[in-house]
């Protein structure tokens, strides 16, 4: 469980996060949306100890993050950065996925077992001996994700998991994440892809200028047109279409729109 209370953060000068309080329960899939600069990355960095609050408090489970080291929190909270190339440095995929386990001091037998399981889960077994740096971007994303998931952290923070990916790779990654969520992992996802947010997330937190302006299921968030406009966001196209046609409800997918349209006809 992740919790913040009156979290305020500033490097120096004006605060990036202002009096932010939220609770994320175990097993949730939360999407964090908002314009670049609204404080999304700054917020999530508090959950693995990379940043400590200027005012207020942050808890991961029962522990206050100011009492933990980053390496400690890395076992609880896995953070997959936006750019996989910021993490990739080993000469084979195997070693890359294993290095987190090494750093955390797992015994070799357990390292091996987790490594094999993770490679299989992410379908990277065939690439085990390839150098990750020269693989395609989608694969590099998967390797970075796998290397964080090898530690099996209960909480997974994903920063733009589908950015720069083609449709198939994007769905691939999110399907894997959905499997993890089904197994009880808490997912906190920063994303600009409103369509996929609508499809996968069950809770949407909208940030603007360091404050939470809305915290609700995606359907409710995307129904709130003035809010989205204020935050420079747009709902998925079918949602916009329904709104323009005066169709009731907030469809998030073509299927939902179609059902809503049929009902309107009847």
């Amino acid at each position: 469980m992740l919790r913040t209370a009156h979290l305020t953060f500033a490097y120096s000068g004006s605060p990036i996060l202002c009096d932010l309080s939220l609770t994320i329960q175990s097993g949730e899939w939360v999407a964090l949306i908002g314009q670049n600069g609204s404080g999304k990355t700054t917020l999530v960095k508090h959950f693995n100890g990379l940043l400590k609050p200027t005012h207020g408090q942050v808890w991961v489970g029962e522990r206050d993050t100011t009492t933990c080291s980053i390496a400690d929190l890395a076992r609880e909270v896995g953070y997959v950065f936006q750019n996989p190339d910021h993490q990739i440095h080993q000469s084979t995929v195997r070693e890359e996925v294993a290095c987190g386990l090494r750093w955390q001091g797992y015994p070799p037998a357990e390292q091996h077992e987790r490594l094999t399981a993770t490679l299989a889960q992410f379908r990277l077994t065939d690439y085990a001996h390839h150098p990750p740096a020269i693989l395609g971007f989608g694969l590099r994303r998967k390797v970075a994700l796998a290397s964080v998931c090898a530690l099996r952290p209960p909480v997974l923070i994903l920063d733009e998991p589908t950015g720069g990916l083609d449709a198939r790779s994007a769905d691939d990654i999110l399907t894997l994440v959905a499997q993890l969520n089904a197994h009880g992992h808490t997912i906190l996802m920063i994303s600009h892809d409103m369509r996929r947010v609508a499809e996968y997330a069950r809770r949407c937190i909208v940030l603007q200028a360091g404050r939470i302006v809305r915290d609700a299921p995606p359907r409710d968030v995307f129904a709130d047109a003035p809010l989205l406009q204020q935050a420079f966001l747009s709902p998925p196209p079918v949602t916009q279409l329904a709104h323009h046609l005066g169709q009731p409800g907030t469809p998030l997918t073509p299927e939902e729109f179609y059902q809503g349209y049929k009902r309107k006809d009847l």
Binding site: Q35, G163, G164, L165, R168, H192, L233, L241, L245, P254
Partner: protein, 285 residues
């Protein structure tokens, strides 16, 4: 001749990493003609050869990359194999994906001036071009700013201005919105629409985001494994959802909706933008 761009039997293989091994061709037998003023969208999964195609249009492939180049590419009448990249750059403006690493000057003004300076233009002409280019991308107020603190969308607009200042005939963009937030994407789409409508620039844009393509293009080419799989109008291309999905590609969400209508109600809808969809559904319902 109204063809801005002619590609004939283009086949290209990058030089291989290891001694003795033979790399596979990244582009195979590409044939394409683009009319002046046309906006062409290029879709394809990662590794389909889209970026290589963009580099080939600017001559960077094969001049800077080496490898084996077969066929011919002619941009604005110039043969990319025989002309220097520096000369081709005056006809073809190439915008890359990463907003960070295509800007390398201290101020926006310096950045936009760099291209014209390379062309040896007189100072007054450079001044005119900077002012014009910045106004087209709506970054005039940022003239003396450092690009370091600009947003992704703003950086890409500066990159566009820097290329427009060289007055190219063709603009080639390799996934320009890949790393941008929704606002940034909107800014780029608006700028490109303006370039299309007001200046009649020929544009080739590679994009993963089908919504961006839907807003801009007159024609779409789909690459798969280095070959041209499909070539047609957006209506025609987006009317084949199964085929695009088989290649791992996305359609605009509204095109998926149109497919749903076609399937379930046998109505021949082929919309893919908001305006088209409104028109089609409002008149029917």
């Amino acid at each position: 001749m109204t063809a801005a761009l002619v590609i004939e039997n283009l086949t290209y293989t990058y030089p291989s990493f290891e001694e003795g091994s033979v790399a596979a061709p990244v582009l195979r037998e590409i044939n394409l003609r683009v009319r002046r003023g046309e906006v062409l969208g290029v879709m394809g999964a990662t590794g389909a050869g889209k970026s290589t195609l963009c580099l080939a249009l600017a001559g960077i492939v094969p001049h800077s990359t080496g490898g084996v180049f077969g066929g011919e590419v002619r941009v604005a009448g110039l043969n990319t194999k025989t002309e220097r990249v520096a000369d081709l750059a005056q006809k073809v403006g190439l915008v890359f994906q990463d907003p960070e690493t295509q800007l390398f000057n201290m101020t926006v003004e310096d950045e936009v001036a760099f291209g014209p300076e390379s062309l040896g233009l007189p100072r007054e002409e450079i001044e005119r071009r900077i002012t014009w280019a910045l106004s087209v991308v709506r970054m005039t107020d940022y003239r003396s700013h450092s690009p370091f603190h600009l947003s992704g969308g703003q950086k890409q607009r500066v990159a566009l201005a820097a290329l427009l200042a060289m007055r190219p005939e063709i603009l080639v963009l390799d996934e320009p919105t890949a790393w941008l937030d929704p606002l940034g994407k909107r800014e780029i789409v608006a700028t490109l629409l303006e370039l299309k409508q007001t200046y009649g620039l020929t544009i080739v844009i590679v994009e993963q985001d089908a919504e961006v393509l839907a807003a801009l293009v007159d024609r779409i080419v789909v690459l798969a494994d280095g070959q041209m799989a499909y070539d047609g109008s957006p209506h025609a291309i987006f009317a084949r959802p199964e085929q695009l999905r088989a290649l791992g590609l996305d359609l605009p969400q509204l095109a998926t909706l149109a497919a749903l209508f076609r399937e379930r109600q046998s109505r021949a809808y082929d919309f893919y933008t908001l305006d088209q969809a409104r028109l089609a559904l409002a008149s029917a319902g």
